[in-house]
Structures are given as C-alpha cells and as structure tokens.
C-alpha cells in the first residue's frame, strides 16, 4: 500500500490537501466498496451457500463481487465454515497473503463462535476473530445467500468510513445500542448535537 499511503500522507499534511483528500477518499471508498472481490474461505456447510451466492439465482456479480481463489487478488475474505485448530494456521496465512486494504466477513455461526461446535469439542476454534480482525459477522447456520449479500452490503458501510490517510480512519460506532438499530458511520458526538 506504499504508494497510496504516501499519497494519503502527503495530501493530509499539505495545505489545501484536505479537499483533494476528501475527493480521493470518496473515489477510493466508492471503488473499494463496489468491487469487493471475495476470497472464498469455504470449509464446510456455509461454503455451499457461498457458492450459491455467486451462481445464477443470487448472482453476486451484480454487486461487483465474485470469488477469486487467489488471495492476492481479493479484498474480502469470507470465512464460511468451521475452522479447526488444524486449519487455523492456513487461514491466517491466507489472510496475510491478501493485499491491503482487506476485510473479513465471518459467515455462519461456526466462523463467528464455533456455533454448534462450541461445546464439547476439542478441535474447533471458537470463532475466527480469535486470530482474524472480523468486520462483519453474519449469523446463520448456514446463512442464506441473500444473507451473505446483505453482509457484503453492510461491509460497504464500514468501507465508506475509511480513508487513504492513515490519520483519518474514522472509527465506526460499534457499541451495543440500548434500543433501536445499530448506528455506524457516525462520528462520535455528532448525533448528540441535534
């Protein structure tokens, strides 16, 4: 990400760079959000729905998302299925092979927490967020393909808060809400003013 990082830094520090940075950010976030190529880390049942999601009935390609088996070419790793202790190093390695910026979707309950394999089993990792930074969790066992598509659309909302300047990465508000829907993409303190 060397070039982009340098660009971001230069724009951020230079006078008047802010405006350019904002528009470059907009372009970057637009392109990143709309062409999320998926690394299908399908291990178990959820992989079937992952396949179905890009096939004729659900057609992921409509959203600019399609699976590429090579981690180097992909933006988002969809961890679909149970990750065992034997498998975890491979998953981590594949994640490291992906080029920045990269995101992780934990699809299905096995990937979120071990799901049905949470208790009593000796070989299952209880959630990929033990070793991967997960951005979106999609509950389901397995989730429907639409559910995965919905998750990808949610991921865009996180991507929209990003910036190519290292200092300007906006944090999504990810606290537990007392009621109502989740708020995200809102700067802290912004909501209270009105």
């Amino acid at each position: 990400m060397a070039l982009v990082d340098r660009l971001g830094q230069t724009l951020d520090s230079g006078s008047g760079g802010g405006i350019i940075l904002t528009s470059v950010d907009a372009l970057a976030n637009w392109s990143r959000g709309k062409s999320l190529w998926a690394m299908p880390m399908g291990t178990a049942c959820c992989a079937m729905e992952l396949i179905a999601a890009s096939f004729n009935k659900f057609d992921f390609d409509r959203h600019g998302t399609f699976p590429r088996p090579d981690p180097r070419h992909t933006d988002v790793m969809v961890v679909a299925g149970t990750i065992t202790r034997k498998m975890a190093p491979a998953v981590k390695r594949l994640y490291e092979q992906m080029a920045d910026p990269k995101w992780v979707i934990a699809m299905g309950n096995c990937a979120i927490s071990g799901g049905i394999f949470y208790y009593d089993t000796y070989s299952v990792v209880r959630g990929v967020d033990e070793f991967l930074p997960v951005d979106v969790y999609i509950a389901g066992c397995p989730p429907r393909p639409e559910s995965l598509q919905d998750g990808v659309l949610r991921l865009r909302e996180i991507i929209a808060t990003g910036s190519i300047s290292p200092d300007r990465v906006r944090e999504a508000v990810l606290t537990l809400p007392s009621s109502g829907a989740v708020s995200f993409g809102k700067r802290p303190g912004e909501g209270e003013a009105r």
């Binding site: 202790r85 949470y118 208790y119 009593d120 000796y122």
Partner: protein, 153 residues
C-alpha cells in the same frame, strides 16, 4: 442371506468359530479373542466377506472393544467382528494385508483411540495434526481447551 442362515453356513465351514457367534439387535456378531482376530478375519474373508466396511473401537472403560464390520456381496450379508483389547497395552494385528480398506480406517482408530496396529505400514495420525497429545475418543481424554456443556438434560 439372513442371520440364522449365516450362522449355519459359518458353523458348517468353521465349527471352531461357531460358539463365538451371537445375534444382537438383528446383527450377527462374532466375538473372538484378540490374538485370533486376524485368523478369524482371514477365515471370514475366505468365506466370502469381501468388503471391510468399518473399523472402529469403543472405549468400555475397562478395555477397548475393536469393532469390524464385514460385508459380503455374494451372500448379501454382514457381520460384526469384535474383540476386546486391554486398555494398558492396546495392540491388535492389522488387517491391511487382507483388506487395504483398513489402511486409513486403522489409522483413524489409532488417531482417536491410540490403538497400535501391528503390521500397519503407515501408522500415523490422520485427522488430528501431528503432535496432538492424547486420544480424544477415549473416555478419559482431558483437554483444557474443551468447553463443557451445561449439565442439564
């Protein structure tokens, strides 16, 4: 061939195996002492049990019970072959010479129960990674990483 016919057939050919034969839950079971396992299996193979369907073990606390499931296509019959193995020194002769199907299945039994198969050409762990400690399907297997379920029914 139904089970009584199978028993008669077996008794006619191998009278020595006859007293070891019993019927449980509609299945023919041949329980042999462990040292005779290989010979009994070879006899059964001669008899027409050409497929080794399953190799597994059960941890009965005091001893392991080896369970082999044999099928015969020509007789349309199936039979359990069982033998008890001591828990301290779980050792049983491998059936790989008779059925290559045992190659992976015995590896699995080794992986899960730690049963040593004598004469197996490649006895390594198969499902668990190399270097795993313990044999998980043993009843006394302990692993700190296991989260126990809540104890209600």
């Amino acid at each position: 061939m139904n089970i009584p016919e199978l028993r008669d057939h077996l008794c006619a050919i191998h009278p020595d195996l006859c007293p070891l034969f019993s019927i449980e839950f509609g299945d023919g079971v041949l329980s042999v002492p462990c040292e005779k396992l290989y010979d009994a299996a070879a006899d059964l193979r001669e008899l027409g049990f050409d497929r080794l369907g399953m190799v597994t073990a059960v941890d009965h606390g005091t001893e392991f019970e080896m369970v082999y499931r044999l099928h015969s296509r020509s007789m349309s019959a199936a039979i359990f072959l069982k033998c008890g193995v001591s828990r301290d020194e779980p050792r049983v002769r491998s059936l790989v010479d008779l059925w290559p199907a045992a190659l992976w299945q015995e590896r699995e039994a080794y992986d899960m129960f730690g049963i040593e198969f004598e004469g197996h050409p490649d006895l390594r762990r198969i499902l668990l990674p190399e270097g795993w400690e313990g044999f998980p399907l043993r009843k006394d297997y302990c692993d700190d990483r296991v989260v126990r379920r809540p104890d209600y029914i």
